[in-house]
């Protein structure tokens, strides 16, 4: 109780990489402020609420250039009085920052890394995850495909480590929900540029051949987080079949076309402020910063310990334009959330699908559930 203060100023750190991610589709190349823009909008929302409670929120954006050290950046934030940090870094860098901040009682919000291991064997008691896991995304997709009776999958997995992890998650989901992988192929990344003057002439010839001769299947499921091939698949498969996974029907926490459950208000606010559409990463960061705002307004405290207790307690329920309350899985600090299935222009469906039941929350039909979890929070 002694640590609890009537917080007037709450400064939130934001750690991210400086290097932009690339994508096959030009319209999918992330903006320079992807993610942090969502946090900034949430800071505005928190500050509107803060005017009634005498609380002021601000954001300290730190970009790690090249091999810059996440540990040093965390220490620098501590010295500036920051105790709440939103992190958009790869798994290993996130763990380094979290472990460096543990002694200083920092609380972290992972808004970027979807690795299941961060919620399983490598889980941390000071890291909350608003980013979904690969297994949540894969389960959300699998539930829909099974509901649609597209049970025979042709699985194509990229050759990079994260592609293989997504492939593993999709295989697990297929088994869990009764889909069958009729064949699995690996798409080797042989290098090369994503954009060329010669264009897509070769791709149009290569991909039908690549998918030729597969056993009968209903849907091609692609695991290509590295953005090497999946976006080339729709309309180019040998057999006329839909594509899902990393292209075609994509599971995601947010999409610029999502307009249900009051989402238009958030979409409009974001567009007015940033002149672009709200992405999944933006939304994961918005959610993290809103969780901080919500904890601060309910507990009247900026103490990370008080906030964590509130967020894992029975009184926390976040409204985030998903049609139902979002809460935390107290065994690994993962945010429960519905997953949208987008075709890039429209929301096709939202998982969990009807009929997938659970004794605690239907949202727990997505991802690794408590009984199977390897996480032991300390």
């Amino acid at each position: 109780m002694s640590a609890s203060t009537d917080a007037a100023e709450i400064n939130i750190g934001y750690l991210r990489r400086a290097e932009p991610k690339s994508a096959l589709s030009l319209i999918e190349v992330p903006a320079a402020n992807d993610g942090v823009a969502g946090a900034r909008l949430a800071i505005d929302d928190n500050n509107t609420t803060g005017t009634f409670l005498n609380q002021q929120f601000s954001l300290e954006d730190v970009r790690l250039v090249g091999g810059a050290d996440a540990v040093a950046a965390t220490s620098a934030l501590v010295e500036r009085g920051v105790s709440l940090v939103i992190v958009d870094l790869p798994a290993d860098a996130l763990l380094k920052a979290a472990d460096a901040g543990a002694a200083r009682k920092l609380l972290f919000f992972n808004v970027g890394a979807i690795d299941d291991r961060l919620r399983e064997e490598d889980c941390r008691a000071n890291v909350i995850h608003t980013a979904p896991t690969r297994s949540m995304l894969a389960d959300a997709l699998a539930q829909y495909l099974v509901w649609k009776q597209w049970r025979r999958w042709l699985l194509v997995v990229g050759s990079h480590a994260e592609d293989k992890l997504y492939g593993d998650a999709l295989r697990r989901s297929a088994k869990r929900f009764g889909a069958r992988i009729v064949q699995e192929k690996v798409f080797e990344d042989t290098g090369g540029a994503r954009r060329t003057d010669s264009g897509v002439v070769q791709i149009q010839r290569q991909l039908p051949v690549f998918t030729q001769g597969a056993p009968a299947y209903d849907v091609l499921v692609a695991a290509d987080e590295s953005e090497v091939f999946a976006s080339y698949l729709p309309y180019r498969t040998w057999d006329p079949r839909p594509v899902a996974g990393s292209a075609g029907l994509v599971p995601t926490t947010w999409d610029g076309s999502h307009d249900q459950w009051g989402a238009v208000q958030l979409q409009d606010r974001f567009m007015r402020k940033f002149s672009r559409r709200l992405t999944a990463r933006d939304m994961q960061a918005w959610t993290a910063a809103r969780m901080i705002g919500e904890s601060a307004s309910r507990t009247r405290s900026a103490d990370p310990k008080v906030m964590l207790d509130f967020l894992t307690g029975p009184d926390f329920a976040l409204a985030a334009f998903k049609g139902q309350r979002l809460t935390l899985r107290d065994w690994n600090l993962q945010l429960r959330q519905p997953i949208l299935l987008s075709d890039g222009r429209m929301i096709v469906s939202v998982s969990p699908q009807e009929g997938f039941m659970h004794q605690v929350s239907e949202l727990d039909t997505l991802g690794v559930d408590r009984p199977e979890s390897q996480c032991r929070l300390k």
């Binding site: 509107t48 609420t49 009051g262 208000q265 329920a317 409204a319 139902q324 929350s361 949202l363």
Partner: protein
């Protein structure tokens, strides 16, 4: 006999699990009689208002309105229907006799719910997209001012004396108490997530605020500005996430409150004195808002996903009929005539 069978099968087709109501409901419906009032239902998707004769419980007319009609009311003289058409950023005034749109009000962007002062001269409008409450002179149809509130204002409740306006903000999660004379916020009360509706008791002793995502109703003392009781809902077999409190209607004597529970497809009946849940009434899918007939014999609900209205017999707490309306019905108001 033929008529009975027809209505019976109609009810079966739309009501599904509610078939237990059939035997009881039919006799009351055909034998009983209601006074002839008129209900107006806004249909969010079809951009229409369904006009219902509450004697026959039938849709007698459909009025075309602007884009995305939601909040709906009547002018105090009952000459005009007022409907907030959010995507057209205005409130339309519709002549109740001709059903023509005769004027639009300067409501501010994306109006959703609104309320009027007791004299029917001033309209208070929640602008969801703009963090403001707009105040409009209804006679001159000009804006009088604005009050800045929290993020995404929605619910609007006015005290019976017209002196206190309660506006709820959905992302700030507060009930803002506004002095209508000075147009200043005098108190902010934190409630559960996504507050959507505010309703005063007629004796002004309490204001009830529903929280959609929180799934609760906060009973607030409007003098002390404190939550004195939080009503929670527990329906066996339904997961917590599906219980989402939205519309509230309280009888004039304050003895019974009704709370629409959204995707739980139920209306909770609350004892107005003890605030205990007495009963859950199974209605159509995704119930939004409700309105009493002026004699308080019936309570009509709008069921957003099943495109119908359920008629609740208030004395017996039973659903006696379901009426098909437009697509995605949302708001409802009932006139004396």
């Amino acid at each position: 006999m033929t008529e009975k069978t027809n209505i019976g099968s109609f009810l079966l087709s739309v009501a599904g699990a509610r078939s237990c109501l059939l035997g009881l409901g039919m006799v009351a419906l055909i034998g009983g009689q209601a006074s002839a009032f008129t209900a107006y239902v806004s249909n969010e998707k079809s951009n229409t208002i369904s006009v219902i004769d509450t004697d026959k419980f039938k849709v007698v007319k459909t009025i075309k309105v602007g884009q995305r009609p939601r909040g709906i009311g009547l002018s105090k003289d009952e000459k005009f229907i007022l409907v907030a058409v959010g995507d057209d950023d205005t409130i339309e005034m519709i002549d109740v006799r001709t059903h023509e749109i005769v004027a639009t009000l300067p409501s501010g962007p994306d109006p959703e719910l609104f309320t009027q002062d007791p004299a029917g001269k001033i309209l208070y409008v929640a602008n969801e997209n703009d963090n403001t409450v707009t105040i409009i002179d209804l006679e001159r149809r000009v804006p009088l001012g604005e009050v800045q509130v929290g993020v995404e204002p929605e619910g609007m409740g006015l005290s019976p004396d017209g002196k206190t306006l309660v506006a709820t903000s959905e992302t700030t999660n507060m009930a803002h108490f506004i002095d209508t004379l000075t147009r200043r916020i005098v108190a902010n009360v934190l409630v559960d997530a996504r507050p959507r509706f505010a309703e005063f008791k007629r004796d002004a002793s309490e204001v009830w605020v529903s929280s959609e995502i929180g799934g609760t109703v906060s009973v607030i003392d409007p003098v002390k500005h404190e939550v004195k009781k939080k009503i929670t809902f527990d329906i066996p077999g339904l997961r917590k996430e599906a219980i989402q409190a939205v519309g509230i209607s309280i009888t004039r004597d304050g003895k019974t409150g009704f709370v629409a529970l959204g995707p739980a497809n139920r209306v909770a009946v609350i004892n107005g004195a003890t605030h205990e849940v007495q009963k859950y009434l199974l209605v159509g899918q995704r119930v939004w808002h409700m309105a009493f007939t002026p004699d308080e014999k019936y309570l009509l609900t709008t069921n957003g996903v099943s495109n119908d209205d359920s008629i609740i017999d208030v004395a017996n707490l039973k659903i006696i009929k379901t009426i098909q309306v437009g697509e995605l019905p949302w708001g409802i108001v009932i006139s004396q005539q």
